[in-house]
């Protein structure tokens, strides 16, 4: 089959990067960065996930159609989070009679 075969060296490098990312995320968690704690943790997690998707899951070498399906999963997740939070985060902004402030 003419499928692209990823050299094992690439897998070992990605594995190394993922381990470094794990160590970094644990180390950063012990520092008090305020709001940035979550931002840094999620930044590292997104980077790690991207490495897994591109290399372990071969998306880097996959067809455009596969890219569209992969992206759609995360775009829908984004819609869920953004539209969901516009509701929940804005509930306390305007006082409404009879509705307790959250």
């Amino acid at each position: 089959m003419s499928e692209h075969i990823v050299p094992t060296r690439v897998y070992y490098l990605v594995f190394l990067a993922l381990m470094v990312g794990t160590a970094a995320t644990v180390w950063v968690a012990y520092l008090d960065l305020g709001f940035a704690n979550t931002a840094v943790a999620m930044g590292i997690a997104v980077t790690k996930a991207t490495l897994v998707i591109l290399y372990f899951m071969h998306v880097k070498y996959s067809s455009r159609l596969t890219w569209v399906v992969v992206a759609s999963g995360f775009i829908w997740l984004g819609i869920l989070f953004v539209l969901g939070l516009t509701d929940y985060l804005s509930r306390g902004w305007l006082p409404q009679p009879g509705v307790p402030r959250i």
Binding site: M1, T8, V26, F56, G84
Partner: protein
């Protein structure tokens, strides 16, 4: 691949694994991979609903979530993260072994993946047992010293058990799939011509790894700096 190359008879002038409605094995492989990705996009939404609940409750009760998180075992969580990443490597190597028709490699790497997946579940089991001992399982026996935080901390633990439980369920299913792959690999079913089952099972396994890559910081690490101030 030319269709006559691996044909066993004149009537079936193509690879035995190729279904009749596909023009070629490449097309069949492409369809399998795409189908798996459609399923995984659904899985993203499956976990997404729970993550949305997590997001809402954490924005409402950041202190309770940090306090609840501080009772999770960071070393065990970190070890489990490393175990899962290691299992993703062995899974990727199993796919590579299939692509290069290396049967022994397929068997060894699938066995390693099963062993690492099982290690993860055993460690998770010890963590769950600890939560039962310390009355941190939501329900009538849930205990929390601070009366004001009890309800939101209980919500944190509800989400903890729902998210990690759903993830563990995926691991159990994944190990089942690996056992099936092992059986097929032993029978020499996978080769450079045909390895779709290993490839798509690998996609599933890596997806479960990705879920944990997010669960670990979201559940275990949000209270670490609070605990050590």
């Amino acid at each position: 691949m030319s269709s006559a190359q691996t044909g066993t008879s004149a009537a079936h002038a193509h690879h035995p694994a190729q279904a009749h409605h596909f023009d070629s094995l490449e097309q069949q492989q492409e369809a399998s991979t795409l189908g798996m990705w459609v399923f995984l996009a659904n899985e993203v939404m499956f976990f997404g609903g729970l993550l949305m609940a997590y997001l809402v409750y954490r924005t409402w009760h950041p202190d309770a979530f940090a306090a609840g998180s501080a009772h999770l075992d960071i070393p065990l969580g970190a070890i489990n993260t490393a175990v899962l990443i290691f299992s993703s490597l062995t899974m990727a190597l199993a796919v590579h072994a299939a692509q290069t028709s290396w049967r022994r490699g397929q068997i060894v790497f699938i066995l390693l993946t099963i062993a690492l997946g099982t290690t993860f579940l055993v460690i998770k089991g010890f963590e769950y047992a600890d939560k039962f001992t310390h009355h941190l399982v939501p329900g009538p026996h849930f205990e929390w010293p601070d009366e004001k935080l009890r309800a939101p901390v209980q919500m944190f633990y509800s989400l903890y058990f729902a998210l990690t439980g759903l993830h563990a369920l995926h691991m159990v299913v994944g190990i089942g799939i690996m056992l099936w792959l092992l059986w097929m690999a032993r029978r020499g079913r996978f080769s450079a011509q045909y390895y779709s089952p290993v490839e798509v099972s690998g996609l599933y396994w890596h997806f479960v790894d990705i879920v944990w890559i997010f669960l670990f910081p979201l559940l275990y690490l949000i209270g670490a700096h609070v605990r050590h101030v």
